[in-house]
Symmetry: C2
Subunit: 595 residues, 2 copies
Amino acid sequence: MEHNKFLLQEVHPVKDIFSLPRYSHLNWEESWMMIESAKSLADRDMAPYFKEMDAQPAHYDGNGGVKTHPQLKTIIKQAAENGWIGGGAKFKDGGMQLPMMIYNTAQHIFMSANNSSQGYFSLSAGSAALITSFGTEEQIKTFVPNIFAGKWQGTMALTEPQAGSSLTDITTSAKSSGDGFYKIKGQKIFISGGQHEACDNFVHLTLARIEGAPAGTKGISLFIIPKFWPEKDGSLTPNDVFCAGDFQKMGQRGYCTTHLVFGDKESCRGWLVGEPHKGLSYMFQMMNEARISVGLVAASVAMAAYQASLQYASERPQGRLASEKDPVKAPTLIINHPDVQRMLLTQKAIAEGALALTMECNRLSDLVHATEGEERQKHLLLLELLTPIVKTYSSEQGSRSAALAIQVLGGYGFTMDFPVQQHYRDLKIMSLYEGTTGIQSIDLLGRKVVMEKGKALFILLQEIQETINRAAVYDPLKKYGNELAEEVVRIQQVLKHLSAFAQQGDIDRYLSDATVFLEQFSYVVIAWQWLKQAVVAYTSLQSGNFQNQRQDFYEGKIHTMKFFFRYELPHAAACAKTLMDAEYLTSVKRKEVFH
Amino acid sequence: MEHNKFLLQEVHPVKDIFSLPRYSHLNWEESWMMIESAKSLADRDMAPYFKEMDAQPAHYDGNGGVKTHPQLKTIIKQAAENGWIGGGAKFKDGGMQLPMMIYNTAQHIFMSANNSSQGYFSLSAGSAALITSFGTEEQIKTFVPNIFAGKWQGTMALTEPQAGSSLTDITTSAKSSGDGFYKIKGQKIFISGGQHEACDNFVHLTLARIEGAPAGTKGISLFIIPKFWPEKDGSLTPNDVFCAGDFQKMGQRGYCTTHLVFGDKESCRGWLVGEPHKGLSYMFQMMNEARISVGLVAASVAMAAYQASLQYASERPQGRLASEKDPVKAPTLIINHPDVQRMLLTQKAIAEGALALTMECNRLSDLVHATEGEERQKHLLLLELLTPIVKTYSSEQGSRSAALAIQVLGGYGFTMDFPVQQHYRDLKIMSLYEGTTGIQSIDLLGRKVVMEKGKALFILLQEIQETINRAAVYDPLKKYGNELAEEVVRIQQVLKHLSAFAQQGDIDRYLSDATVFLEQFSYVVIAWQWLKQAVVAYTSLQSGNFQNQRQDFYEGKIHTMKFFFRYELPHAAACAKTLMDAEYLTSVKRKEVFH
């Protein structure tokens, strides 16, 4: 909670957001009370079921249904009643018009406590946001209040068995039935929350192709396909949506992952959202928020693993420092071993660095919602640039972080008696959800870096420079600012090197190492977030004005910034070396060389 | 199998080992037939149960027993009958006097197929080796034949709940009962194979402290403590060894991990092995082999994950290259995507690099067993230096490799329908077994690098230089040799920098970043193994003498060498940057800064 307060009050001041008309109904005290009540909810209704929901995973009942943990109903109900499904929506849509900075701080708390269960209501919130953004008044009225109330589950249905990440190739079809609706036929897999016991109805936001639509992504439309169709008289009629299975997974086992079949009996109706063939662009509004959300889940679970390993290290006596030769001396707490400190600080650097970046994204998201014109565009560009980073850094490095949590506990960490192994298992899906790491990397290098002639990148570099300038004021921070500036130059060198391929028309080669580029870029972006935190912490220490925090807390931030620069940032140069190399090794034609 | 043949025939020629008197009873054809029969055994009796043994994990029966998969009995029996428990032992001890190069190639095949079940008989082999090395004729006669026959399970019992990695602090006690035996009392945890249904008796090689022994590791003795005591008349008497539980784990779920209680009824007898107070040094003979074995398991499981993801990538059509804009064109196989090639080559570089190093260690181990005097000492020193590397590189990078296998499969990789998630879960324990990564790193930097005034390091650097010299003959390989030489210099610079702390008596600081040093060192050692493989492959390609391999196979080796140098090796310099930094960040005294 201390870290959340630090982010909201000092690093990315939420009071600036409250000063915007859209959010002027809020103040700090009230918002913090909401967050504290979210913490109570998480502690009472979610955390105690974290392990159970893994040990008794969601599973198919053999006949269209998915068995879930009985507590799930309570969790979704509590979340709904406390505004944590619809809270981010506008007043006019039945929401509380909360800024993402507040809303997602609460979600972070839920994710840290029990990420499987948070998935259900967070997904509902995203689906409802899609309807309120692009749906008709009637669609909004029909579906959104029930989703916000936690009675109906919203989902997003994109993936198909044969297409995977390649949305170009989806084949689910839609045929106008003349009455304003469409007849749907097709199959979707990996549909989170697609069917379970805690909700009465399921509202599937589904991508499908209208008969005669253009090939590729330009022919995809968005439909609302409820499991039960809400008739005008308020009754619900079965809509030929059949759940054919629930994938069993190595983690996030409390969160069902279903296989849906639409129109097996030729009687599945879908309701078109917005205009035909624009489905993918609508879906991407939700998708972009979902990507930030996945980054936040990953950072939150890594944070939970960090906290668990920190607690263990603070309580477990074992071994002696290398300088202590006397075997009769009592063992020391393992937190005193340098290698354990290294593992703890690595986790802190990753988890808190990722959380700081998530909060930066939340802030930008709020600014996008509350500003207009050129200013809005600037925030939007920066947000779009940071989205693949926050999603991928948090998930890839979050997994590494949770591995270190296990390592701190030694053999115990690998047993089901401690939560860190579950964090590790849960985390692994984050690099796959909502666009794999490979997809995110191509998005970054192929689209975000070059959009509007590199304007987003220009804005980011300006922001980074501003932080470097602020650090330069303080002697002890100045050198870190200089190091960051060097890494910024290195990114520009790499981009110059890669751009030559794009200019020659070799787009495959330009993008071939996009993942390595994203890794390099991420180190720099997270270093920026750490320097930002350190400047704030140093300022507070200098002023003697500790606000809500302890002196140790601020010193911990500066220490962890130094740690990140010393242990993590050097790998950015290693990535650059790979990227600048003249050889092209990932365009092998004869596949036999892999064997 | 192709890769195994390449290692045994070309990279580390086993025929040189067959020329030594100890192994002169063997030849290539016969040895390879044994390996092929091991492959049949693995395919028939082990691989088909890989998934089942995970889905129905070993578990405590509530009353001293552990339920295991029914197939386990067959597997142990088959392994025993085919010589894969006792095969490495000398003829005089009932073995087949196989070199480790052959024996461990077979074990690698078993580990790739079903690592949980291989653990049982591999552990038995290690326990028996300990008895044959340090036990009396009577002890050998009493226990070893039954272990080799697969009837009795050997185990190693070191860890205690309060001591973990710190063997200094073990408290299990032994009191002479005057009849040549000792009365044992204490508890051990994390005892693999400690109790199960597939064997009739359990022979626990146990560390304990004789009454009045010196404190610390100098007062630890080694005992044989069977579950049932073999009486002179051949009967078995219960020996007050109680299994109090079986830890449930996130991986290797088919391999039981027990909690043993010795002497709860004051009637547990132990049989001292060798001299009192020398137990730890005896145990370390087994431990060193166990560490290499853990490295081999990790590399083997990573290899299995690689193969599974390679097969998927070769069969799954999805998406199009970035340069292909036509959505109507058929999707390409995912192996054609550069990012998928990057993930596959990273896995190949890690798994085959680690396997090559394991084979180097097997070769050294065979030379240690078959030579004498100064020559033996030289092989031993190099083996000791490489042991923490092979154990740690394989386990840490193996986990990363298996994560990439999941990633290649996308969402499917996270489901229980594919084996890669099990490989990923199984692998995580390898960085904990037989000394955690932190312990291995301190062993490397605190002991191995400095022993005999750095002689082991000197020998290694000579070996590396020899490989560089061989590469220099071929123009296309020369530059990689030069790069490797640069990295060797960097290691020496780091050691010079760190040594200053040791010389000042600050041993804590000298060792504080041992793990980062081990990481740097590992990149260099694996680069050496890759260059070695590339030189051999290039030589064969030049000569047109392809022996048993395909041209593509050799080209794949050279290609993967280049990949390792381009994508992995640059991170060695990043580690060096961390290690050379002036700041000391892992000696935090006020623990509040972690919060």
